[in-house]
Symmetry: C2
């Protein structure tokens, strides 16, 4: 079973396009222990999500102890729910192979986010894990992403913004069908544009909820013609819904609200086609 | 003392622009243990280098054990020699802050390599460590780097290739004077072009030696007007000079040869000005 099949299995089982980012921030934790916190969140939300997405930055900031917490967190995720390693790695040659091995073999992620700046030969070691998903960063969630991603580039087939060129290259390089794109839900117009360029590609859209994306526009712009092909990811809004003792219940309620709202928006978009 | 001062101290003390990449590859190790190997290499070369540069990919591929080996490797480096964390990280907002904390506080690197794709707001958390060096990837060592880096971009001040735009932005964003560029020694023409755009910036040029860079062109193109501003980095050629029992002696000889060759090339370039 490859990543996309596993993802679609979880999407159907939980009727959900929602992904929760498991991003431990010490100063926001409602309990002292990262693993205990994640176990409670996973237990409270595992029937509501299509994927979990730990961002490695937050674990690395906690040192080796943080990486041990990642190891324990991964063990707590039911095996039928895919896990996206949000590592945004990228390097050349043997280093790219080492990162791919780290993410897919050492950590065992089902998919990973990868930075496109190095080009195809550096991407290949990731893609060669054909059962794994590889999400190339196209449009990131931050405003400053425009510094490079929005630049106009001249190509043989006309002028495109850099984030569009990433999408066109992703389509060209997708011989194993395991490439996806990261397209911030915070920029729904760009998400829509990417969908027009890549009608069948899987998109990972972070930034719903706390990062301020307009959910309705992100759903309408991001889904494919069958109402799928999209992972909508949130982190802080669900994880840190409250610091009170009822944090798991509150996270569940928040996740359920988002999941149902997304499903209603998908249904409305499909009906309007 | 900031990174550049520490680097220049080591450059003068060891009369060297050479940096050695400490990149453990299990299948190439002449001894079974990564830490033991690195201790021997560091002992044999510490009077010949201006910096060491561990690439985190190789440690991560070895799992938590690999990261413990990184910890021990860092302890073996004399405190007057700067260490560049070759991590090529990049992310947005709180994640970028987490990566900066991981690299500069948890690992304690003196400098780090960072991917520019996310733009300025994502770079700022790294730059705010004013005593640390932040090397933005401009032109990477691999051929495929051209897929994006060589694209022509239209800007308000004319058409530039993307790697040149990174350099122009780096100059603009360098308010604390701690930005440097990564410019592969494998592409000496691009290195020269970057030097023309950024006459005073510090460059990290990986890819001399085993990666096939033409050393003479890289030195001539990369040094600044005072014959400095350049770190020339090699990994496999020095590290894995042999798998025999005399590996440390052979690594030392190789490092010494490269250092002396670089110094002769710098002197020749300066004389020719």
């Amino acid at each position: 079973m490859n990543f996309r099949e596993k993802l679609e299995g979880a999407q159907e089982r939980n009727r959900s396009l929602l992904c929760i980012g498991l991003d431990p921030q010490r100063e926001l934790l409602p309990v002292g222990d990262v693993v205990q916190f994640h176990r409670a969140i996973i237990e409270a939300t595992q029937d509501l999500v299509s994927a979990y997405k730990p961002n490695l930055a937050f674990y690395e900031a906690l040192g080796l102890e943080g990486l041990r917490a990642l190891e324990e967190t991964l063990k707590a995720i039911p095996s039928h729910i895919p896990v996206i390693g949000d590592a945004k790695r990228g390097d050349v040659g043997p280093s790219a192979r080492a990162y791919a091995r780290a993410l897919f073999e050492v950590w065992g992620f089902d998919a990973a986010t990868v930075n496109p700046y190095f080009g195809y030969d550096a991407l290949r070691p990731f893609l060669e894990y054909r059962q794994k998903g590889v999400f190339l960063l196209a449009r990131t969630t931050n405003l400053g992403g425009r510094d490079f991603q929005a630049l106009y580039v001249s190509t043989a087939s006309g002028n495109y913004q850099l984030y569009e060129v990433v999408a066109l290259k992703a389509r060209e390089w997708n011989r194993y069908g395991n490439i996806g794109l990261v397209a911030g839900a915070t920029f729904p117009q760009e998400l829509k544009r990417l969908r027009a360029l890549c009608p069948e590609m899987l998109f990972l859209a972070p930034g719903i909820g706390a990062q301020g994306g307009d959910l309705a526009q992100a759903v309408a712009g991001g889904i494919d013609s069958s109402g799928k092909g999209l992972i909508l990811s949130t982190s802080r809004e669900v994880l840190y819904a409250t610091r009170g003792p009822d944090f798991a219940t509150r996270s569940r309620r928040m996740a359920q609200g988002l999941r149902d709202q997304i499903n209603a928006l998908v249904a409305a978009s499909q009906a309007a086609r």
